[in-house]
C-alpha cells in the first residue's frame, strides 16, 4: 500500500499542475487617455481625471482568451504627455491612479519631480497593484492624475496618460 502511494503521489501532483494550466503573459496598451483638471486651479495639488474604456474583453477575445482567465495585471510603463504640442512645465510632480466600481482606487505610478521643458515623461510604476485586474475588467475606468502645480490658473489643464499593462493569464 505504501509503495502504491509512493507511485501514485507524483502522478497526482503532475495531474494537478497540468489542470492549473500554463501561466501566460499578454501585453495590453491603453492608448491615450485625456485627463482634465478643471479650472480655476490653485498652486499645489490639483486633481485631473478622465474616463477610459479599456475594452479588455475584445482584446482578450482577439488573443483567444477571456476575462475570467486574467489572474493579475500590472502597469509596467506609464507615460504622461503634454496636450496638443505643449509641454509639461508648471507641473512639479504627477501621480497616476485608477478607480472603478470594481474596487478601491489604486495608485499605479508617480514622478517627482517632473523635469522642465518635457513633452513626455515616464513615471515610476508601483510594485504592488492588487486591484488593477478587477478595474480593467470593467467597461469604464476613471484615471486620476494628481498634478502638483507651481502657480494658480483660471484655465483647465489637460494632460494625456498612457499605460502599458502586463496581464497574467491562466489558460
Amino acid at each position: 500500500m505504501i509503495s502504491f502511494c509512493k507511485f501514485i503521489s507524483p502522478l497526482l501532483a503532475i495531474a494537478l499542475l497540468s489542470a492549473c494550466g500554463t501561466p501566460e503573459t499578454l501585453v495590453f496598451e491603453s492608448g491615450p487617455v485625456t485627463l482634465t483638471a478643471e479650472g480655476p486651479l490653485f498652486e499645489g495639488s490639483n486633481t485631473a481625471q478622465g474616463t477610459w474604456a479599456p475594452g479588455l474583453d475584445e482584446f482578450l477575445q482577439a488573443h483567444g482568451a477571456a476575462l475570467d482567465q486574467v489572474r493579475a495585471a500590472k502597469v509596467v510603463a506609464a507615460h504622461l504627455d503634454a496636450f496638443e504640442g505643449g509641454n509639461l512645465n508648471g507641473i512639479r510632480s504627477a501621480s497616476l491612479s485608477v478607480a472603478s466600481e470594481a474596487g478601491d482606487m489604486e495608485q499605479v505610478a508617480v514622478l517627482n519631480p517632473v523635469p522642465p521643458d518635457q513633452q513626455r515623461v515616464t513615471l515610476t510604476t508601483a510594485t504592488g497593484q492588487k486591484a488593477l485586474a478587477a478595474h480593467l475588467k470593467q467597461t469604464s475606468v476613471t484615471v486620476v492624475a494628481d498634478l502638483d502645480l507651481d502657480a494658480d490658473s483660471e484655465d483647465d489643464r489637460h494632460v494625456i496618460g498612457t499605460f502599458t499593462i502586463e496581464l497574467q493569464l491562466a489558460r
Binding site: 499645489g44 495639488s45 510632480s93 478601491d104 482606487m105 508617480v110 515610476t124 508601483a126 510594485t127
Partner: protein, 157 residues
C-alpha cells in the same frame, strides 16, 4: 366662480415645498462631505472631493511642509511600496473610497497614516455641518480611535 379662481391661484403655491432647501445645500446629501477639513492636531488640511460616486480626501496643506532633515518638501517615505515613496505628501490622498451609506455617515473607505505607512478601515460621521468624527480601526470598529476634524471654511458664515 370666486372659489375656482382662488384654487387656480393657490394650487401652484401648494405644490411648492414649504421649506425649500438652503441655497448652500448640495443636491446630493453625500456631497456635504466635500470641503476642506482640519484634523484635531492642526498639522494638516485635507480637501475632500468626489471622484465617480465615491469620496476622497487629499492633503492640501501641511504646517511643516518640508522634511527637517533634508529641507526638501515631504514625501511619503513610509509607503509600504518603495516605488511610490517619492510621492509628495502635500497632495497625498489619505482618505479613499468612501461611500455615503446613511444619514451623515460615509463608510467602506480607508484612512492612511503617513507617519507609519499604515492603512486603516474608516468610518466618517458628520456631527454637524462643520464637524466630523473620523474613526479608524483594524477589523473591529469598536476597537478603533476617533479624531475630530473641523471644516476650514465653516458653513453659515
Amino acid at each position: 366662480m370666486m372659489r375656482s379662481l382662488t384654487l387656480t391661484l393657490l394650487l401652484p403655491l401648494l405644490l411648492i415645498q414649504p421649506f425649500p432647501p438652503s441655497p448652500n445645500a448640495p443636491a446630493n446629501e453625500g456631497d456635504n462631505l466635500i470641503g476642506v477639513w482640519e484634523p484635531s492636531n492642526g498639522r494638516a488640511r485635507v480637501k475632500v472631493e468626489k471622484i465617480g460616486a465615491k469620496y476622497y480626501g487629499k492633503i492640501v496643506w501641511l504646517r511643516e511642509p518640508n522634511d527637517p532633515v533634508t529641507g526638501a518638501p515631504k514625501v511619503d517615505k513610509n509607503n509600504p511600496d518603495e516605488a511610490l515613496r517619492s510621492t509628495p505628501l502635500r497632495g497625498y490622498r489619505i482618505l479613499k473610497d468612501f461611500v455615503h451609506t446613511g444619514k451623515n455617515e460615509w463608510s467602506e473607505g480607508t484612512i492612511y497614516d503617513p507617519e507609519n505607512g499604515s492603512t486603516y478601515s474608516c468610518v466618517i460621521t458628520m456631527k454637524d455641518d462643520n464637524t466630523l468624527d473620523i474613526r479608524g480601526y483594524i477589523g473591529v470598529k469598536a476597537l478603533g480611535r476617533t479624531d475630530v476634524w473641523k471644516r476650514l471654511q465653516t458653513k453659515g458664515q
